[in-house]
Each structure stands twice: as C-alpha cells, then as structure tokens.
Amino acid sequence: MSRFSKSILVLALVGASTATFAFDSFKGVGRPATSAEVKAWDIDVRPDFKGLPKGSGNVERGNELFEEKCASCHGSFGESNEVFTPLAGGTTADDIKTGRVKGLSSGELPQRTTFTKVSTISTVFDYIQRAMPWTAPKSLKPDEVYAILAYLLNLQEIVPGDFTLSDKNIGDVQKLLPNRNGMTTDHGMWPGASAKKGGIGNGGKPDTDNKACMKNCKPEVLIGSTLPEYARTAHGELAEQYRSFGPVRGTRTLGPEAAKKAAEATTMELATKSGCMACHGMKSKIVGPGYNEVMTRYAGQPDAEGKLVAKVKAGGAGAWGSIPMPPNGHLADEDIKTLVKWILSGAK
C-alpha cells in the first residue's frame, strides 16, 4: 500500500467517524472512498511481500496456463523476442549463487531478458497480476499467478520441475534470484535517506561528481587537432555558421580560394620551421636561389619533383654555384615533398 493510499484510508476513517467533516470545504463534490474501493485499487506487491495474496501454484499448472494465455506472445519457453524482449534465459547456475548476472557486465549476453535484470521476485508477481495477459489484465487469480511464476522460475532453472510456489516459500525463491544483488539505489533518483539509514535513496546525492577545480588546474587549453586541409571547405564558410560570441568561433574557410591560401600559409610556416627561408628567398637569391628561380629552371620537367626531393634530402652543390646546400635528413619525406611541390607550383 502506498503512502497515498494510506492517506485515503485515513480520510475514509475520518469521514466515517465525523460524517461531514472531511468534505465540508467541497460541499456536494465527491464522497469518501469505500473500503471495498480502496481494496480493489490497492493491489501492489512490495519487495517485502506486503500486499502479496495468499495462494499457491505448481510448475505443471503454470505450463498449461502459460501455453494457453502467454505463449502466443512470449513463446512456449519465454524465449520469443518478437513482442517483448525474452522473459527467460541468459543466466547461469553461478549467477544464482552470486546474485549478480555476470553476462550483464561481461557483454556476453546477446540479449537481456526479464530474469537477467529483475532483482525482486515481487515485481514479477505484481506485473503479471496487474498487467497480464495483455488482452485481459487483472483476469488471473492469485493461484494462477503463482503457477505461471513457478513455471517461469523453472524455465530459468531456479526451481525444479515439481516445485510449488506459494506465499510461504516465495521469500526463499527471492534468495535464489540471479540478479538479486544487481540493484543500486545510490544514484540520487530515489527519495529518502540512504539504505544504511533505513531509507531507499541516498539522500538525493547524484552519482555524477562534477567538482570545480580549485588547484593544480590546467593552465591553458591546448589545441589537440585542427581541421584537415581536404576537409576545410567541406561545409562551406564555417565562420558564418558559428555564433559570433562565446568561446567557440568557426574558422574562415571561404571556398577553395581560402583553402588554397590556408594550405600555402601552412607550407610557408613549414618552410620557415625547416630552415629553408634562411638561405632561400621567395623571389630573390639570398645564399641559395630564390624559389621563383628554381621554379623557372625546372618548369616543364615531369621528373622535377622526384629529383628535387632527393636533392633537398641529400644536399649538394653545383647546380646554382659552389656554396653547398646542407643535407636535410632530419625532415620527414612527406614534408620535403610538400615543400618541393609548393616551390614548383610557384611559392607564394
């Protein structure tokens, strides 16, 4: 019986003893619920088995009933996955011992079933009694619910085939439920004090732990990745698609022109970083030839790229005078290739 139903009951009692007292403020509206009405409504079965009707049923009778009323949707063995997820299966004898279904955490289970998840047998009883069969809920008598539940427990290999389930031994069955230790109340979603203090919640404490950083915080944000060149223009002008305020801005992509410019800008950076710009000018000779001179000399030679890559790597003298170019073995081949391509396409 829930708290709500208790208060109704109290109201009903008060109403009975002091005739019009409770309903004075709503004259002519409603009447106290009769005890029969409360009884018809108050059918829930709690984990501590409060509300559990008296009765019993065996596996064999349960098999008959299941075949008649349940199997069309759930399958003869509770295995059907078409209307509802399977009722039975997925647990091992070891799970019955430990009270925690291992397949749930190991990822071994291809499909969760009712009995891999449920941690209180009263819930299954309550559900069958309240909602099953789908076409005629609340039509099952307590003995029938016991029988069907006994059959399900037998399918799950929790009880033997000659077992009779009743209100007397359902508590013992609870102690064999495969996932009986699988429930946590430590998530702040349930009301009341913690389980240790006799409540069912944890005092409303969330299970996330978003602590503000007060010391040893990260001093700055490091950019871990950038937009790759080939993807720069994939989504148009990003700068216009982002908000103009707040911490995140879209980078300027502005069509293929901007992409090319951006690519060249990064190659220029690469050239500077690699030390090329110390000796080579963009359009003039410094120590070695300017890039424009290199481009002019090699224009129209299809093997120029490969030749130059080798030259940059090994260094050498002769082609442009006697001052040698130092070898550049420390540069990645990929970078050298990029630089040579950039020079031959008219470095800007």
Partner: protein
C-alpha cells in the same frame, strides 16, 4: 554431454506439434575473442526427432543457426502418452538426447 533440451509436445486433432529449446553455444568459427584469436567452431551438425522408432524429422544444422536455437515443427500422427525423442550431434562429437511425452 550438453545441457538438457526443453521439449514440449502437444497433440491436437491428430497433429502433433513439437517445440524444443536447445541449449548449445553454436559458435560459427568466424568470431574472434578479445585477444584476436579465432573462437573455434562448435555447432550442431545433425538433429533427429523420433516417434517410437520412426524418424519424424531429420535436420542438418550448421553455423548459421543461432545460439540456444528454438525449433518447432508439426507432424501428422502421434497420440497422447507417446514418447518423442529428440537428439543432436555436434561437430566436436558431442551429442545429447532428450524426450518428452505428448499431451
């Protein structure tokens, strides 16, 4: 010797319906475990159902059949109280036989 099968047999208007839930790993031999090693194939290759001495179903299973397969079939004949025997063999040479009484 695998785990027992669950078998239901029911006769209605001269037609017997058999439903069986077979407990078997049914490994295809295509899967790899966390370490990247192939999980060896392990599946049922043959399944027969008999009514008395008469074979009412002979089936060849293979790796495409699911884990813990469910099998249902009907045949004409059989009467209440008759015994139906279902047995399988797998590629590791293991086998299992279970029976049910028609009701």
């Amino acid at each position: 010797m695998g785990n027992p099968m669950k078998i239901r047999a029911a006769n209605k208007d001269g037609v017997t319906e058999i439903k069986a839930l077979i407990s078997h790993e049914m490994e295809t031999g295509q899967r790899k475990d966390a370490a990247g090693a192939v999980v060896p194939a392990w599946f049922i290759t043959e399944l027969t159902a008999k009514l008395g001495d008469k074979i009412v179903l002979a089936a060849e299973f293979g790796p495409s059949v699911s884990k813990n397969p469910y099998l249902a079939f009907k045949f004409k004949g059989g009467a209440k109280g008759d015994k139906v025997v279902v047995s399988w063999k797998d590629n590791k040479g293991d086998s299992r036989t279970d029976e049910a009484v028609i009701n």
